[in-house]
Structures are given as C-alpha cells and as structure tokens.
C-alpha cells in the first residue's frame, strides 16, 4: 500500500492526466461544435509524435520546438478536412442532421488510411529517441528529465488553453456554439469561422500532445487507437461537449488508470479503461458533471 501513496505514482498520474486532458479537449471541441465523431483522433497523436521524431532524428530539432510544428501540421489537417469535407456538409440542413453518423464512418476510414500510410512510410516498427533521459530527483520523486518536461509543458499549455477558452470572446463563442447552433448564428457569431477554428485548434493541441508523448514513449503507426478510446471515455465521463467536465475527467482518468495499473498490473489497463466506460454508460450517461449531451 505504501507505494500507492508515493509521490512517484502521483507524478505519473499527473503526467498521464495532463496529456489525457489535452487530447480529450481536442476531441471534445470537434464533437461539441460540430457533432463530429472523430474516431481518427488518436491518429493525430501519432502524427504529432512522428513529426517530433522526424524533426529530432533527421533535422536535430528538439521536441519542445517541433511540438509547435506538430500542432501546425495537425491544425493544417483540420483546416484541410474542414475545407474539403465538412464545410459543405455543415452548411446543408439535410446533410447536417445525418452528419454525426456519417462522420463516424468517414473518420474510421480516415483512421485506417492514415495508419496504413504511416506503416508504408515508417514501417510498423516501434521507434523512439533519447531526449533528456537523465534522471531528475525532486524530493522523493525520481523522473527522467523528459517526463518532468512533459509534465510542466503539458500543464502550462493546458492552463493556457483553459484560460483562453474561458476568458476570450472566441472561447465564449465556441462555448455558445457547443450549446446551440441556431442561437449562435442569430446572436451574430460567425459559425463557419468558429467551426473551422475548432477543428484547427482541436487537431492542433492533439498533435502537440503527440509530440510530448514521443519524448517519453516509443512510438508506432498504431499507437493512436488507445488514445482514441481513452479520449472518448473521457469526454463521455465529463459530459459530451462539456469542455470543463472533459478536462477534469481527463485528469481523473489519468489518475484512475495509473493507480489502477499500479494496483493490478499493466495487462489490466484496457479492462480498467473500458470498464469505466461501460460503468458510465450504465449509471451516468449524462457524464459525471451532469450537463452536456447524453451519450448514446
């Protein structure tokens, strides 16, 4: 039991939690503003991770710089998918009503394509790079420099994102769109622009999280799927479309996962995550914080 109270474990839980919070916020923005079920979300994590990996191994650029490149590239993909596909679908009332189901299939196809392209280009091998791998000791906690950096950078960026969404006019507009599309249009919000920005922003922070993850863990073309699942569990836990709920749920799932695995074993990770998922759907489909859409 002693190990459960160790600050070591707490640090691990916080790292996972911060990353989950960022990744699920990206998914939640895209779902909340447009009702797009992005099952390729985890693949953005993978893309971000490979951007950082390539930047480091080929161009000798550290992940703390290339994470912004990862955000830009994933944000660009968000822009591209909006311009090519969703702008048209979202502006047509008839197509809009079927968009949620259609987007699921579309993103599933995209996910398969992205993963296979990644395997084609980078092979299916797991890869990694050495970055800040020296151990840092803070009190009783022993961490690699990379993990400590991820914790700090992740926390700072999460705080910045939360602050932006909470206090900027743009964040207010995004939140308005999540609550009611028609109402947003009639108060004068440029719905088209907010939707596009949500995709860019949501994809971007997910790519950034992927770059951070590549600092600590080996990466592979299929690394994204567990993140997709976790992100969905989190946004349902927090209430679909509820940004703050999702953010807190991300931290919570990080803690539950790390402590749960510490109590049982790594082979139980999936059982834990999916178990939580099923339990929420049975007992609190509206999410822990109540408001927000009911998961179906």
């Amino acid at each position: 039991m002693d190990s459960l109270l160790s600050p070591q474990l707490l640090a691990a839980a916080m790292i996972t939690g911060v990353l989950y919070a960022l990744i699920s916020l990206g998914l939640n923005l895209v779902y909340g503003t447009m009702r797009l079920l992005n099952v390729a979300h985890g693949d953005l994590v993978m893309i971000g991770a490979y951007v950082a990996f390539i930047a480091f191994s080929l161009l000798n650029i550290g992940p703390l710089v290339s994470m912004f490149g990862a955000a830009l590239i994933c944000g660009f993909l968000g822009w591209l998918s909006y311009k090519c596909v969703f702008q048209r679908l979202l502006s047509n009332g008839q197509l809009l009503s079927r968009l949620e189901e259609n987007s699921l299939l579309l993103f599933f196809a995209l996910s398969v394509i992205i993963q296979n392209l990644a395997i084609l280009f980078f092979s299916a091998d797991r890869r990694g790079y050495e970055y800040l791998s020296a151990i840092v000791e803070i009190g009783d906690v022993r961490l690699t420099g990379a993990r400590l950096t991820v914790l700090i950078v992740g926390a700072v960026i999460s705080a910045a994102v939360v602050f932006f969404l909470r206090f900027s006019l743009f964040g207010l507009a995004m939140n308005a769109l999540i609550q009611n599309r028609d109402a947003s249009a009639i108060v004068g919000i440029n719905v088209d622009r907010v939707q596009m920005s949500s995709l860019i922003f949501g994809f971007g922070i997910t790519g950034l999280a992927g770059a951070l993850i590549s600092m600590m863990e080996p990466i592979s073309p299929v690394m994204g799927f567990p993140y997709t699942m976790s992100a969905f569990v989190i946004i349902i836990l927090g209430g679909l479309g509820n940004l703050w709920g999702g953010f807190l749920a991300g931290l919570l799932l990080g803690v539950l996962e790390v402590y749960g695995v510490a109590l049982t074993g790594p082979e139980w990770r999936s059982v834990l995550v999916y178990g939580i998922f099923v339990l929420i759907l049975i007992f609190r489909p509206q999410g822990l914080l109540g408001s927000g859409k009911t998961a179906r």
Partner: protein, 238 residues
C-alpha cells in the same frame, strides 16, 4: 425615412419539397411596428427564420436598407442591424445571464459598446441585474424571455424581429413584454413581430399582414386588420 427599410419580394421557402411560404411580399417601414399574424403552421416562424438566415430562400429577394441580403449568412445580417429574438428564446443554458448578454454583442457593430449596452440592459431589466451570475437555464420562462429580448438589444439592432415573445408566459409578464415592445419603438427601433395574441399585437402595431398556409391573404394598417370581421372571427374568436 425610407419606405423600403426591409423589403421582401416574392419570397418562397420550402422544407425539402413542401412549401412553407409561397410568393410572399411585404414591406417593413422604418420606425414602425409591423405585425405578422396567422394560425399555427401559417409560415410565420419560417419567415422570420429565413429573414435571419437560418433557412434559405428558394425564390425571391430580401432587401434590407437597399442591400440584397437574400443569401447573406446570419452573422452578416446581425452586423447589418437585423436581429431576431427567436421562438423558444434559445438562450444559452450553461452561460450566466451576463455571458448570455455579452455574447449578444459579439457582432462588430455592437462589440465596441458592450459595457454601455450591458449597463443599459440591467437598467431596463432590473430582474436580470439581480440574476447576473445565475445560469440562463435556471431562469423562469418570463425571465428567459426578458433575457432573450435584452440579448437581442445587445446587438444594437436597427430592426428587431420578435418571434412569439409572449408564448407560454403569464398575463402579467406578457403585459410587460408588450410594454417593452412599444418602448423599443419609441427609442427608434423598427419592430417586426409575430405573435399568437393577435388582438393585443394589432393594438400596438402600425401595419399588419395576415398569413394563411404560407400565403399572404390580407395586408393593411393594423387598425384595418383589427376591425376586419373575418380576422376577428378566425383569429380572435369574436
């Protein structure tokens, strides 16, 4: 005073193949209250939703202040001074009263004076001042309607479209809403109102149109329409 402040010519709107509004033309004069009456399903809400850009016109032209706005997106219409207070209020349930009001001033024309507008809203609606930090979704129906009106005003509109502003409200609150509409006219805002309380609406309106099954069947001054025997029989049960 331009006579064609808002001019609608031969407007048709359809859901898939079903026409909800057919070949409708009307004029809204600046500084006046124009009322649109008719039974349920006559196309009144369809009309206002088309004017605010939520629905697309199938045929016809909408001109506002001599500019064609038929295919303009909603936010551009708000920017031009055309604001709707929708049926069912559509306030943001997870925003506080103050956030609801602030988002009402999101358009460029209103953003600059958001603080003044906010103060003004609280002066006109002291109830909202008291509930500043309460979530919109927890307000009563009457308070939500006040909030929707105040939010519409935050956009500094030149023309305010009101869709069923007293639907489902207690008589006392309805009185307050009608008084407010008259007050808005007095401070120079043009009003286009759709209301199920035909009698009271025609009493405060200047001009009126009667819609039936998506077609305009009568138009004139509110007084003419109010005294028309057919209207009295069909819509006021007299």
């Amino acid at each position: 005073m331009s006579p064609s402040f808002l001019k609608i010519s031969n407007l048709s709107v359809a859901y898939e193949q079903v026409y909800a509004l057919r070949d409708f033309s009307c004029n809204v004069e600046e500084g006046r209250i124009t009322a649109l009456v008719g039974s349920n399903g006559a196309g009144k809400t369809t009309f206002l939703r088309t004017l605010s850009g939520l629905l697309e016109a199938k045929q016809g032209v909408i001109e506002f202040d001599n500019a064609d706005i038929t295919y303009l997106p909603s936010h551009k219409r708000v920017e031009a001074g055309l604001t709707m207070v929708p049926e069912g209020r559509l306030i943001f349930p997870d925003f506080t009263v103050e956030q609801n009001l602030k988002i009402g001033a999101v358009s460029k024309r209103a953003l600059g004076q958001v603080e003044d507008s906010l103060e003004n809203s609280y002066k006109i609606f002291p109830k909202l001042d008291q509930r500043r930090h309460q979530l919109g979704g927890t307000l009563s129906g009457g308070e939500q309607q006040m909030l929707a009106l105040a939010r519409g005003m935050m956009a500094c509109p030149r023309l305010l479209m009101l869709d069923e502003p007293t639907l489902g409200l207690a008589p006392l609150i309805s009185d307050a809403i009608f008084e407010m509409v008259v007050h808005l006219k007095q401070i120079g805002i043009t009003i286009l109102i759709v209301e199920q309380d035909v009698n009271r609406t025609l009493q405060i309106a200047d001009n009126a149109y009667v819609l039936e099954n998506g077609v305009s069947i009568m138009e004139g001054t509110a007084r003419e329409i109010l005294t028309d025997p057919k209207v009295r029989e069909s819509y006021m049960g007299i």
